[in-house]
């Protein structure tokens, strides 16, 4: 039997004034997958309304894909999630939330 990685993602668009909700997705897989791979699969295959940062610098330095997994801020490109387990995914910096898992960074001056 194939195993699944189950993720519950905090969803919110602050421009609507609506309260956040958690939506659960199950990815069938036999191998460990990075958070970024999982989010890409959800966006491309299952739910095109999900917003996440898709950029990957390839060297784990840019922090673009940072998210909170089980309360811990991690880099999505370098964090592996295991089949058979459930995870809670939330935005890395809720104070600068743009939508879902997308947060603003401190810009030079905005």
């Amino acid at each position: 039997m194939k195993k699944t990685i189950r993720v519950a993602i905090r969803r919110q668009d602050p421009t609507t004034g609506e309260a956040p909700c958690y939506k659960t997705y199950e990815i069938e897989t036999e191998r460990r997958m990075t958070v970024l791979e999982i989010l890409e699969e959800i966006y491309c295959q299952w739910d095109s309304t999900l917003a996440h940062r898709r950029y990957r610098c390839g060297r784990r330095i840019c922090r673009s894909c940072e998210v909170r997994v089980e309360g811990q801020v991690v880099k999505g490109c370098a964090t592996l999630l295991s089949p058979g387990k459930s995870y809670l995914l939330e935005p890395a910096r809720p104070g600068s939330l743009i939508r879902d898992l997308v947060c603003a960074f401190d810009s030079p001056r905005e």
């Binding site: 668009d13 602050p14 421009t15 609507t16 191998r31 460990r32 997958m33 990075t34 791979e37 966006y43 491309c44 095109s48 309304t49 999900l50 917003a51 996440h52 940062r53 898709r54 950029y55 990957r56 610098c57 390839g58 060297r59 784990r60 330095i61 840019c62 922090r63 673009s64 370098a78 592996l80 743009i98 939508r99 879902d100 997308v102 603003a104 960074f105 810009s107 030079p108 001056r109 905005e110």
Partner: protein, 542 residues
């Protein structure tokens, strides 16, 4: 960013528009550590010039190369003054690497790579109150007045999902390349050629679009680390890592440290001959390095610390395991035609960096990309400032008209019931066609088929494509806006690749394996058939 600094210095107000977070998206933060500039006794600008001309297989415009080699040193000093660190020896002199294609060691090693360089540029930008950076904004169209001169742009502000407009007297395009047109690339997902499409729409000439540089050694398996670049130049250099490239049978097949186009061809030959690995690549192998384990570890820590630790933490210690790699699209050498002042062929529009098209020719040598961004960024900033100063505030009539057009476009792309195609599906189909028909090896029949297939996507898929697109950060709408630009750009690339009936550098034609005796550009402009243009020569060199 370098262009913004220069224009601000000359008294202009500058708005920097970036479709992701500035410094954490786009092309530059992904760049390796290399910045090519003459720095040791015995080396010279003439040698740098000659290496770039020869490395580019004589297709780079020499007036541009002359500017690059003349000003790279000063631009490196600028970067140091912005707080960017280059690797130096204990005596304080530069500690350059010797990369393929360089007569003498000339690659300055930037601490932190392109990301580190961007950090310095951002620090400098903070000192200029006249520069207004805007993160997470997507430029939809450039606006021109009746004479074709720029008067602004429309853009989607991803932070609140609203359509906005901006007035400007000059426009600098610095949006990077278009590697994302192909399935297999190691570039940023943002490298969709936005700036090239916008320049095309504005009437600018595009040049040598078929010239996609492949990087030979990008990880293809396992999937979690797919797309990671590890520099073959360091792997196979006995002085650095002392490793090897092996085919699927475990046999070495590469001699010396050739340039990227030659290594790509050698790997491609192994794969095509059935000597590839299980997943269709070759191995990078440091498990039999000529170095002792402590020396190898020290070298990895010195030259590729980020990749080494990243792969190690993901479960792949390069000292113990071989990793499967294959050529991927890495850098687009074609783009917008520019002159030595970074001017495009349309007054008021300037272009700098990978978005420009006639500097590197048919093969870019290592270290010239970041040098290009700084040399021609400064040129573009200064040229745009001079242009803008001579103009009044543009009228608003064209802005309002263009705003209406952009509104219609967004409405059309927005979610409709019964939509047929999602942008991610169209993008995937488009990328597969490009890889199959216009990948490492090309031929006329395949390119013609690719053009016919792309025409179907343009006529049937694009009008039937729609996106979930309301509220803040409408990711699928952004995806749709990108695909809308990428598909016509694919057609132009295929057209250029068909027109160039020779093999040169990274453009490998199975039906035309030889190079013409004289290199010529392939030029495209709206409403015209492609044509060939002489490469500019300046008669400089050793």
């Amino acid at each position: 960013m370098r262009a913004a600094i220069e224009a601000a210095r000359e008294g202009c107000r500058v708005v920097v528009m970036n479709k992701g977070p500035i410094g954490r998206s786009g092309t530059t933060p992904m760049a390796m550590e290399s910045f090519q500039s003459v720095c040791i006794p015995g080396d010279s600008e003439d040698l740098h010039f000659q290496d770039t001309v020869e490395g580019g297989r004589y297709l780079g415009d020499e007036n541009l190369i002359a500017v690059l080699v003349r000003e790279a040193g000063q631009r490196a000093k600028d970067l140091e003054s912005y707080g960017v660190h280059f690797k130096r020896k204990e005596d304080g002199t530069f500690d350059p690497m010797h990369h393929p294609g360089q007569t003498l060691p000339r690659t300055l090693f930037i601490q932190g790579g392109g990301f580190g360089m961007m950090a310095g540029l951002i620090r400098e930008v903070r000192k200029h109150p006249a520069i207004h950076p805007l993160s997470d904004v997507f430029t939809i169209s450039l606006i021109q007045d009746r004479e074709g001169v720029p008067c602004g742009a429309t853009f989607l502000d991803l932070k609140d999902g609203r359509l906005k407009t901006i007035q400007s007297q000059a426009v600098i395009l610095a949006t990077g390349g278009y590697e994302e047109l192909w399935s297999f690339n190691d570039a940023s997902v943002t490298a969709c050629g936005d700036g090239i499409f916008l320049a095309w729409e504005a009437g600018a000439e595009l040049i040598d679009l078929e010239m996609l540089q492949f990087y030979p050694t990008i990880v293809i398996h396992p999937p979690a680390i797919r797309g990671t670049l590890f520099q073959y130049e360091l792997i196979v250099d006995p002085e650095v890592l002392g490793g090897r490239l092996l085919n699927g049978k475990g046999d070495p097949f590469l001699e010396g440290i050739p340039l990227r186009d030659a290594v790509t061809k050698a790997i491609w030959k192994e794969i095509q001959a059935g000597r590839g690995t299980e997943h269709g690549g070759v191995f990078i192998d440091l498990t039999h390095s000529s170095k002792t384990r402590p020396d190898l570890t020290e070298a990895l820590e010195k030259w590729q610390p980020n990749q080494f630790h990243y792969l190690k933490d993901m479960g792949f210690d390069l000292r113990d395991v071989r990793i499967e790699v294959a050529p991927h699209g890495h850098f687009t050498m074609g783009g917008i035609a520019v002159d030595e002042w970074s001017r495009t062929t349309v007054p008021g529009f300037f272009a700098a960096g990978e978005v420009a098209g006639n500097l590197h020719g048919a093969n870019r040598i290592s270290g010239n990309a970041l040098a290009e961004t700084q040399v021609f960024g400064a040129k573009a900033g200064s040229s745009a400032a001079a242009f803008a100063k001579g103009r009044g505030i543009p009228g608003t009539k064209e802005l309002l008209l263009e705003m209406k057009r952009a509104e219609t476009l967004l409405d059309r792309l927005g979610r409709r019931p019964g939509r047929l195609f999602r942008p991610s599906q169209v993008r995937k189909r488009m990328q597969e066609i490009m890889w199959r028909r216009c990948g490492v090896e090309r031929e006329a029949e395949g390119l013609r088929r690719g053009m016919a297939e792309m025409a179907i996507i343009e006529k049937e898929d694009l009008p039937a494509m729609s996106a979930a697109g309301s509220g803040a950060y409408p990711q699928e709408l952004l995806d749709a806006l990108e695909v809308r630009m990428m598909v016509p750009l694919c057609r132009l690339v295929l057209q250029s690749a068909l027109f160039r009936e020779e093999s040169r550098g990274h453009h490998m034609r199975a039906d035309y394996p030889l190079s013409h005796s004289t290199a010529k550009h392939v030029v495209l402009a709206r409403g015209k058939e492609p044509w060939a243009r002489e490469v500019k020569r300046v008669g400089r060199g050793r």
